[in-house]
Amino acid sequence: MTDVLGLFNYWIVIVLMMTGFYIVIARHNLIKKLIGLSVFQVSVFLLYITIGVVDGGTAPIVAEGYEVYSNPLTSVLILTAIVVGVATIALGLALVVRIQEEYGTIEEDEIQAQDHKA
């Protein structure tokens, strides 16, 4: 088998990704779907950071006495992604509040039932 320890990180990231994916698909509660989405996002962040790691390297802050640094580029990408992720989650939650006000429920199947009826 290829070195399990080396690829172990990626497999766990995939497990997290699939759990988030499952929550978004299988659960009918809208808030649960948003939480599933944020789980999925965190796993993508961890995937990028795992790619950027260098053995024996320190944080990408240049200081005397340290020569090997981990990759700063992946960190920058993820910094942007985290904040955008929270912005979208906040908007999604505001919409959930409005949906609950209009439909009286946040279960996806009940909402669809009301839509077909109206």
């Binding site: 802050i61 985290i82 912005a87």
Partner: protein, 137 residues
């Protein structure tokens, strides 16, 4: 939340340190981990703590919703203003070398302050609008 004496005293003790830490994170972003986003979120968390413990009225009188909503646009304006300024001074858009001798330093600090204002104001407006809904219920 009025009768929590211990919580009120501890928050009165902690909030100055939280806000001070937010500014430290903001301006220390060049040398250590930190920057505009984290500082904005920490600042907003300090205000939210104040709002939760001392009530929405106290928080809204401390930081007016009008001021915060203008802060949302102000931060972005500051960011784009730095870009335009560097264009007027001869460099390209958002090219901080044109801002003078130590242009990179000043440019990055100004830009991070713009991000700080926008992120802090957005998080506080979201908190105010949710708290408004809870209070109306």
């Amino acid at each position: 939340m009025k009768n929590h004496v211990i919580l009120r005293i501890v928050t009165k003790l902690l909030i100055p340190y939280i806000l001070l830490y937010a500014f430290y994170v903001q301006w220390h972003g060049d040398f250590g981990p930190g920057g505009g986003f984290q500082a904005g979120v920490i600042f907003a968390a300090g205000i939210m703590l104040y709002g939760l413990i001392f009530g929405l009225q106290a928080a809204e009188s401390a930081i007016r919703p009008r001021l915060v909503q203008s802060g949302v646009a102000l931060g972005l304006l500051l960011y784009i203003g730095v870009g335009i300024a560097s264009m007027l001074l001869g460099g390209g858009f958002l090219d901080y070398d044109a801002l003078g001798h130590d242009g990179q330093h000043h440019g990055i600090l100004l830009v991070e302050t713009g991000v700080f204002i926008t992120v802090a104001s957005v998080m506080i407006t979201i908190f105010y609008s949710f708290a408004e809904l809870i209070r109306r219920q």
